[in-house]
Symmetry: C2
Subunit: 725 residues, 2 copies
């Protein structure tokens, strides 16, 4: 009996599981289901949680103010409800008088079009401002080009914000839909793509909030989502009136804008009722209107906004006008002050001047501060769970979380283990970057740094004319400082072949090997020069390495080319332009071989005496603690991320190269010179803390065990070598 009973239970269990899976599948497809709780599908549900009870009166008040405002701005005279005679058009009045509300775990959908490196940075700030205030699960629908997708996919994957879902849509696929429209706006074709959203987004998606990338939220986006419930049956687009005089056509002589209702509407913030847009055949609607207008208009001036306005002019009942504070437009000559000086709760700021934060406005400091709040805000702090809602796929793998929970806080090496388990948020190619043209012998310089080494970048750019992939360990605020630094530097801004990847700071120890792996993973040439930020390569090194790679046939030979390392203890060094000059500086005591005074073992196997005389590359053997700077194929082994802070991070990597039977070939004309700097905090800690040294030894032992597991008896020599020291 028991077995059969068990079987039944199992079958029942499997059925339940299937049902659950089906339901979770539905969650992802439907925009109206609440995550974690099945709630009334809005719009007039009752029993709202405390704090959302605000809506009823707000709604009425909002409508009253809206009407007043429209009247004041002279727009009401032309309001369609008063002109068209349409009975169903309800300007700003909610269709049902009950409380429109957003359920505790209701999923809200947001669409953003984003292309290129700079817009990707903007999107992050926008998303931070939304996440900061949100109390609901969010699904971001991102229409991106390849660049933005690469950046944002990695970013959200490593950000791991609970209850945040991400979908990508290929902008290039959508471009043909709008490419035929001549357009003069600075947003280019990407602005126009907003028109295609009802077609591009999943057919099951009923509603979405569409945002420009130059938007900052100062309130909970759920309050905006709640406005959908106030749409009449015919209203399909929620928009805020334009706050400049552009569409009035009186800005200058012969200024002839596209047709619009009164002052027109701004499309930086749009509520799109997708379901109904599909029903009213939105696509034909906007296409026909655009074609018709383009007969006389030649091109759009404000991209999609011109077309949205032209459509609305023709079908005014489609629009639901939003309260002005949902899109406070800080364009030049804006009339936005009329809006924000009256309301005490500013909801959304729109930096819609081409000058962006540089716009002239007597209150710009106020708005800049709100913007900077999110620009500099530590994004890690937004990894806050929503109590009672499903977390979703963006959270850290349960394995990692479990491992973190199991860590003993009293473990002396807790910080090391914690740091290893930490998933750092990564923003790839923070600045505009163009990958180098493919070349079989090309080599990328790979290094990592934090804020205190920024001043090395210019010199490095002068010494290395080739591609670089650099990982920067920064806080969000520091990333902005870096941005300013790079933009202000003529040397840096002249380069497009240097990729800067931001790894956001978290935890007390410098994750040196994680950083190296991020930079290494983003190199686009077949070979990489694994360097450190304090080294300046010989001026000729880039060319010399490419020649050597070719001559040594590295494509068919498993080898690591060693670049001998030297150091100066001088602030200023007249950098040697040849090996001969280098040798004479060495003889004069102005240069030393690297770490000659403190840690000669790290580079001894390079055999500097032999290098002095060498005319051709020569092979050297691995020895314990060897840590040369090497050139290897891009697909070389990764660094072991367990080594954080100071100590043994390169040694382990070189050991792994040796275990994989890379030959070490020293290049006779190659060199790099280490410049002096104050010891890092990590080194200070290492020197003063016995615990630190103890933990490092534990990590070493664990590494050796792993090495034995992977390479078997071949790895024995490393343990033996270690013990002999």
């Amino acid at each position: 009996m028991l077995p059969r009973g068990r079987g039944r239970l199992k079958a029942l269990g499997a059925g339940l599981l299937l049902l659950l899976l089906l339901l979770s599948g539905l969650y992802l497809l439907s925009g109206d289901l609440a995550y974690g709780r099945l709630l009334l599908p809005s719009p007039c549900s009752r029993g709202a949680p405390a704090g959302l009870g605000a809506q009823v009166r707000a709604v009425e008040e909002e409508n009253r103010q809206l009407r007043e405002e429209l009247r004041r701005w002279g727009a009401l005279g032309r309001l369609p409800s008063e002109r068209s005679g349409e009975r169903d058009v309800t300007w700003g009045r909610t269709a049902c008088s009950q409380q429109p509300t957003v359920g505790k775990c209701e999923l809200l959908h947001v669409a953003i079009v984003c292309a290129g490196h700079n817009s990707s940075r903007d999107v992050v700030t926008l998303v931070k401002s939304i996440l900061f205030h949100r109390k609901n699960p969010l699904h971001f629908h991102l229409v991106t080009d390849g660049v933005a997708r690469n950046i944002l996919e990695t970013l959200f994957h490593t950000w791991m914000v609970p209850s945040v879902f991400i979908s990508f849509y290929d902008a290039d696929e959508l471009k043909p839909e709008v490419a035929w429209i001549p357009n003069k706006h600075y947003s280019g074709i990407y602005g126009l793509l907003k028109l295609t959203l009802p077609r591009a987004l999943p057919p099951t998606l009923a509603r979405v909030i569409v945002l420009d990338t130059d938007i900052t939220f100062a309130s909970d986006i759920a309050d905006l989502w709640a406005v959908f419930a106030r749409f009449s049956d015919k209203q399909v687009i929620g928009l805020v009136e334009n706050q400049s005089d552009w569409y009035l056509g009186n800005l200058w002589k012969n200024h002839r804008p596209w047709p619009a209702l009164g002052r027109g509407f701004n499309t930086g913030v749009i509520l799109l009722h997708l379901e109904r847009l599909r029903q009213v055949r939105w696509e034909q609607m906007w296409r026909l209107t655009a074609e018709q207008e383009l007969l006389t208009m030649l091109a759009t001036s404000l991209a999609d906004q011109d077309i949205f306005n032209a459509v609305i002019k023709q079908y005014p009942w489609l629009v639901y006008p939003l309260l002005c504070s949902w899109n406070v437009q800080l364009s030049d000559h804006t009339r936005a002050e009329q809006c924000y000086s009256e309301v005490s709760d500013l909801k959304v700021i729109h930096w819609n001047s081409p000058k962006k934060l540089g716009v002239k406005n007597k209150h710009v400091e106020f708005f800049r501060n709100l913007y900077l709040t999110f620009l500099e805000y530590d994004g890690n702090l937004l990894r806050r769970e929503l109590f009672g809602c499903i977390s979703g796929p963006q959270t850290e793998p349960s394995q990692t979380r479990q491992a973190l929970v199991e860590l003993e806080e009293d473990d002396a090496c807790y910080e090391f283990r914690q740091q290893k388990l930490t998933v750092h948020r990564v923003h790839l190619t923070f600045l505009p970057y163009e990958p180098p043209a493919p070349h079989p012998h090309d080599v990328t310089l790979v290094a990592q740094l934090s804020m205190d080494r920024l001043q090395m970048l210019e010199a490095l750019c002068r010494h290395w004319p080739g591609p670089m992939s650099l990982a920067l360990y920064l806080s969000d605020a520091e990333a902005q400082q870096f941005l300013h630094f790079a933009q202000a530097s003529e040397v840096l801004s002249a380069r497009r072949d240097v990729a800067y990847h931001i790894v956001y700071r978290e935890g007390p120890l410098y994750p040196v090997n994680l950083l190296r792996n991020v930079a290494l993973g983003q190199a686009h040439t077949p070979y990489v020069f694994l360097s450190d930020i304090d080294f300046l390569p010989a001026y000729s090194l880039y060319d010399y390495l490419r020649t050597s790679i070719k001559e040594l046939s590295l494509a068919t030979r498993k080898a690591a080319l060693v670049v001998p390392a030297f150091e100066t203890l001088r602030y200023r060094l007249s950098f040697p332009t040849s090996k001969t000059e280098l040798l004479s500086l060495l003889d004069a005591g102005s240069l030393y071989t690297f770490r000659y005074h403190v840690w000669p073992r790290g580079h001894e196997p390079t055999d500097y005496a032999r290098w002095r005389e060498a005319q051709a590359p020569y092979r050297v053997e691995w020895a314990a603690d060897y840590e040369p700077y090497v050139v290897v194929p891009r697909d070389c082994p990764r660094y072991d991320p367990r080594f954080v802070g100071f100590g043994w991070n390169k040694v382990a990597h070189i050991m792994e190269l040796d275990a994989q039977e890379y030959e070490f070939l020293v290049l006779p004309e190659a060199f790099a010179i280490h410049l002096p700097h104050a010891p890092s905090l990590d080194i200070s800690r290492f020197r003063s803390s016995p615990t630190y040294r103890l933990c490092l030894r534990t990590l070493k032992d664990e590494f050796h065990q792993d090495l034995s597991r992977r390479y078997g008896s071949a790895a024995l020599k490393y343990l033996t070598a270690q013990r002999q020291l």
Copy 2:
């Protein structure tokens, strides 16, 4: 006719001005007048601005929830309204059913008791969290000891947040009121001081919100203030129920808490209706209750909270119970989850475990993130004006603001001029500090640093056993990193005579001379050693300087003692323990005189050749570009803050000392050694930017002009010397 008319106008103007002044005086005295607008004195005023319309339903909902909650927690059975038969007691029901609201510019009052260095840091975080969400003018009433007053007065004075008003009350004067109460709580006597607020605060103040320093706001404090309007005529104290079982008396065997209503109330967040408290003779009330209970209780365990609860137990109609989310108590064994897991808008977090952020709670990461948000938040961003409300005295002097507005953004030296006009927020004595005992020849080491020099602090502490005053240029987030660094360092935490003053970062250039002035201004000894952070003094220097000051009778002689400066280019130096050792290192080329290779002129007048042989102090003459490290009286001239970034910042100061006829006396046994470091970003900029050099020259010229103005023809020599270079 005209003159008479003008006279009349003038008189009228003067009258109006007087009236205005009188009115502003009234503003400061009355808690019920709105700043900038005269509004209905609440509680049931109508016509609330949009966004505040939330209250009606929220109120009703809140009351409903409150009753439910109390019932669930088993407290309602004992509710006074159902027991006492009092007709007027309306538990949680608003006395008037209209909309209680807070006017757009209504001034809200907040009282905080704060003593010592650590609490002062906590108060800043609390205030940041309040300011972040606030939309109203705020008046903070701070009951402080001398330490906290010194810190907070400077902090708010330099913070300059518009529409924020500060008053201080001397905790030491109030202590006798409560000193007779035996108390076992970790907050000490300062917790008890909350009982005295109705007496301590101005008699005109009608209402105040009282907050513990371990509180974090996650919502607008105006929503809490609005609850005052719902007090019945007899209710005088608003409190949240205690969220632990403490007062139920069942925590352990023989646990005997003070008497309380049910679970009792927590006093981390209190609404005090001061006006009525005075009417009901609060002072006698709590005193009698305390005396009575102390007959059997021996001491309070939870300070003021025990007494508040004992009073409420006796006079239950006094209390208005607040919704739980206004004080989510994260104590050990808290039942707070029942509160925060249901509501979606958490309003106030209370870190009331003695472990504070270290408390064990499965959601502690969530709460920590909220807390860290404000801990690391750039306080400068809170200098946001409230549109339409009077700014108040805490804003920057209109002069400075005007000067900033008049700056031409296109001026090549804009950054320099802007930096000079910037008022930096200053947090004095960020860590616990005890000034040294007065001694006529004592000397404080004065220096400044930013994050990249933290690793110098331990070595400096080892080399200088005397008092130090250090200015640290940090962001809010960096200040927290510094705090952790200092707390983790045995060397640093063993010292109480090192004062760390945080100057918060703002603008692109390092304000080196402002920092020096902050550190100099906080030295408490008669003499100061004006050093730089990269120098390590001879181990004997502190003692030697005190002896020299005495022997040279510096009290009666206007002199600057020169400490000769050397440098090493080595990472590691075996630091010389005597002049003899130093000289042999110099001869061996391990040491150089400071800037020997790059800028010998800065120290040439010190005359190192003479110093080698010198047995006694010798006088040297000023020369152009001389910039020695000197010991001078504390009241020496301040540094000129126009010099920011790199260049000429010390030179100008030494010139001023010479202009004031200080003798320069070189000490034969004194020395300090500069350790190597990477060039700062400012130096890099200086080297690469012709504009930077040009601006520096302009600043120099302006300095010379000012010097001539102040010292007349005597200053001519500096200009001549400059021109001869």
